[in-house]
Symmetry: C2
Subunit: 105 residues, 2 copies
């Protein structure tokens, strides 16, 4: 995965950074993978929260009691992650393509 810094982003798109944060799992810090939502409205990768709940039956973000039966797929987040990653790749490609490159030595 490409490593982005805020400097890579056009100034009018710093919101993009917030969206990046929102779409990450608070357990593994990767983009949500098979997003599930707890009753308390917090989202995690399906695997991350299930592993976590094998130790403690509470939400890792807000400590609300929670069970595996309470978990609900949040499919729109999977679609948003896909779209966001595609947009980011295209933006990165555009940034790479546009500046005049010095010839390879």
């Amino acid at each position: 995965m490409a490593n982005f810094t805020e400097a890579d982003l056009p100034p009018n798109l710093t919101c993009r950074k917030n969206v990046d944060t929102l779409l990450r799992c608070p357990i593994c810090f990767e983009f949500l993978s098979i997003a599930v939502m707890t009753k308390c409205s917090h989202n995690f990768c399906s695997l991350c929260i299930r592993k976590c709940m094998s130790y403690k039956l509470q939400c890792p973000v807000c400590n609300s009691p929670t069970t595996e039966q309470d978990l609900r797929n949040n499919r729109i987040l999977d679609d948003l992650v896909t779209n966001f990653q595609t947009a980011r790749q295209q933006l990165s490609k555009a940034n790479f393509d546009s500046p005049p490159l010095s010839p390879k030595t």
Copy 2:
């Protein structure tokens, strides 16, 4: 609210159009306002789905049986809508600011 067409968007950001669609309520077609999710993982404005369920206890998208008790706030979508709207406004402002304008007559 500003009316955007696809032509307003930089070509590398057509994903933005998909995100726009994802973040809209399938009942009122506005951006989700106090997003709630059904058990079947479909999202609506809180008011829109409650009005709808006063007529029929099923999901307007997939017809799954659903009750008001099944509805769960999907707060991350409220945050995503805010961020998306801000990004769009800034993008639109940038598009307005950059081309040389003919003087007002």
